[in-house]
């Protein structure tokens, strides 16, 4: 299927999420001689799901290379290289594996600049991929944005579309002053998006993915795409205009953008890829009530993973993740109340929208 994050403009083309990643990795290495990519399998024929394929041939084994299994060590090595002027890009094919590097990410990378009074810093890009569906199970499905964003010093982004990657990665690679964690989503990799090479680039903060006046949806990553599809469906059925805000930067969102939208609509749906408990939804609520508890005219709706580890069985996965009709239902319930009476879509979620997803994993 094709999802659109912004209205197509002058020169548009269709580009997959993986394709956008490959383009920005290529450009990053091309424009920044000090940049390099390391990670398990970055130079193999699968190339991190197509996002680094053949770059080792173009830039050489010294700049795109495989590593042993050593998440903690690799991250520390990236810090050391960064400290002497390199721009390291590391990969984890599942965000879950970044927990092995937590000490280097949180205790070292995130604190380096502040802890030493600003005389040193370690800019780098850590790419982690969130798994979902096809029985990824409890250890290949976690989405740790709230965990990383809790720690000052980290910049945490979640590109939801090819456009977000094309626009943000060039602002990050070789340019952003500190360590950045980009939480990519496996389900998005093979999706095609309409992208524009002109237009105002998506900034390293939140932006309006779809304008609307009736209900505000604050979403992250693949849930932005789910929300956009839901909004279109609802618009076609009812004319209700949902405003979709892609939080995009988890560590540095544009909270005023969110608050102003809620002030306009008074109604809120939060759709995140992780658990709502101690997650993104909580911070959204905190930011709103700090400004004015009256902004919310009724309790917001929240879409996230069920509060349990991720089960493997398809029948449970379908209940575990917010389905497309739950997303539609949440928006309609906010707009019209529980008995909105609008027929819900049959299609369950991205995993069905994108039938061919059978891995690679």
């Amino acid at each position: 299927m094709t999802a659109t994050a912004k209205k197509p403009q002058a020169a548009t083309r269709v580009l997959s999420y993986a394709g956008a990643l490959l383009e920005t990795m290529d450009a990053g290495l091309g424009q920044h001689p000090n940049a390099f990519i390391m990670g398990q399998g970055v130079d193999d024929f699968k190339g991190i799901f197509g996002s680094t394929t053949n770059l080792h041939k173009k830039y050489g084994a010294a700049r795109v290379f495989d590593t042993p299994l050593m998440e903690e060590g690799m991250t520390g090595i990236a810090i050391g290289a960064s400290l002497v002027g390199d721009y390291p890009i590391t990969t984890h094919i599942r965000a879950d594996f970044s927990f092995l590097a937590m000490n280097q990410i949180i205790n070292l990378a995130s604190k380096y600049r502040y802890m030493f009074g600003g005389i040193m810093s370690c800019p780098m890009l850590i790419r982690v991929v969130v798994g979902r569906s096809w029985g990824q199970g409890a250890q290949h499905s976690q989405s740790p944005q709230a965990t990383f964003a809790h720690y000052p010093g980290l910049t945490v982004v979640m590109p939801a579309t090819s456009q977000a990657i094309l626009d943000m990665y060039p602002q990050i690679i070789g340019r952003h002053p500190g360590p950045v964690i980009s939480i990519e989503h496996r389900l998005l990799y093979n999706l095609d998006f309409t992208v524009s090479d002109h237009g105002k680039p998506i900034p390293l903060t939140s932006y309006v993915a779809r304008e609307g006046k009736d209900v505000t949806v604050v979403a992250t990553s693949v849930m932005v795409v789910e929300a956009l599809r839901a909004a279109q469906y609802i618009h076609d059925k009812t004319g209700i205009e949902a405003e979709i805000i892609d939080l995009n930067s988890i560590s540095h969102p544009d909270w005023d953008l969110v608050a102003n939208s809620v002030k306009k609509t008074g109604k809120l749906v939060i759709a995140d890829t992780s658990w709502s408990e101690y997650g993104v939804a909580g911070e959204v609520c905190r930011q709103l009530v700090m400004r004015d508890p009256g902004l919310l005219r009724s309790p917001p709706s929240m879409l996230g993973m069920a509060y349990a580890p991720c089960p493997t069985a398809k029948s449970l996965e379908d209940l575990y993740y917010p389905s497309q009709h739950e997303t539609v239902d949440a928006i309609l319930t906010q707009a019209r109340g529980g008995r909105h009476g609008v027929e819900l879509p049959s299609e369950r979620s991205m995993t069905e929208a994108f039938k061919k997803f059978r891995g690679p994993f």
């Binding site: 299994l69 029985g135 990824q136 199970g137 069920a306 089960p311 493997t312 069985a313 209940l319």
Partner: protein
């Protein structure tokens, strides 16, 4: 290697053939989407799980990986519960919550398998520590791939096991690959010499296709371990299929088909045609029954979603 008529050989062979035929059935079923989860096949590595498990006592514990169809079957896990688990059904070992990557059969000594490389190695050390404190004669076996030894926790686990002299047996299934990476680009060390530095006895066994010999090697290692000292047993083996999934992957050019073909020449499951023919019908019936059980088993529903969290 013992002849085809030998009792023991026949028993081991049958289990190994069961594993292979089970995985070949998985390959057949996969395109039908009945098994909607990643599968890491052990085809080519069956002799390791069979030889190792046969040498263990029923109450010895095995802690393995996402590539554990072989160990599940060899340790004596129920076949119907396995297929139901792969199908994601209530009749599965873990009601479908685990799937292929997290097989377990605690009732026969296979503890929880993990999809995080190397993460169950310290679990075996911890179980062994407990066995020692309670002066039981049980041993705990950590099963892991060659790549797992690159993780820091391998170093920590060996050091602790050696210091505490716990009955932990470390079994490294060396198929020479971590996904598509060959061992020399990942490792600067020889596993035997590495283990010896911790004062841990180590042996590398090259004929990983030979179930009886693997069993012998494991018996020796297990007895040594049981007397109260860790042991590292490295067993050469060969992964015939792609890292994950049910296909072949030679056409991707990252490894030589010839190497696997050379290995296959030794593979009794290929060479011992008569025994294969003799045993296949009964095994196929067993698999049939297990698949039928899975097919009939209900899918878990909302009642299961939030149970057993804490």
């Amino acid at each position: 290697m013992a002849g085809g008529n030998d009792e023991l050989y026949r028993r081991l062979f049958k289990t190994a053939l069961l594993i292979r035929l089970v995985e070949e059935r998985i390959i057949e079923l996969y395109p039908s989407d009945r098994i909607q989860s990643p599968v890491h096949l052990s085809i080519g590595q069956e002799a390791v799980s069979v030889g190792v498990c046969d040498a263990l006592r029923p109450d010895d514990l095995v802690f393995a990986t996402y590539r554990s169809h072989g160990f599940y079957i060899a340790k004596g896990g129920r076949l119907d519960a396995m297929f139901a688990e792969l199908y994601g059904r209530l009749g599965g070992v873990s009601k479908g919550k685990a799937g292929s990557m997290h097989l377990s059969a605690p009732e026969v000594g296979l503890m929880g398998s993990s999809a995080v490389v190397a993460s169950t190695i310290p679990h075996a050390v911890g179980a062994a520590l407990s066995f020692k404190r309670r002066s039981l004669s049980r041993i705990a076996v950590a099963v892991f791939g060659d790549g797992a030894t690159e993780e820091g926790v391998y170093h920590e686990s060996l050091n602790f096991a050696a210091l505490m002299k716990v009955p932990a047996l470390f079994i490294c299934e060396d198929n020479g690959l971590a996904v598509h990476s060959h061992r020399p680009v990942r490792q600067s060390y020889d596993l035997r010499r590495h283990a010896e530095v911790y004062g841990i006895k180590c042996r590398r066994f090259e004929q990983g296709w030979d179930m009886l010999a693997v069993r012998e090697a494991t018996l020796e290692a297990a007895e040594y371990t049981r007397r109260g000292a860790p042991f590292v047993l490295e067993i050469a083996t060969a992964r015939y299929k792609e890292h994950v999934g049910v296909g072949e992957d030679f056409h991707f050019g990252y490894r030589e088909k010839a190497d696997i073909d050379a290995w296959k020449k030794h593979d009794p499951l290929i060479s011992d045609v008569d025994l294969v023919k003799a045993l296949t019908p009964e095994i196929e019936r067993e698999i049939e029954a297990a698949v039928a059980f899975a097919e009939k088993s209900a899918s878990p529903g909302r009642a299961e979603l939030l149970t057993d969290v804490i």
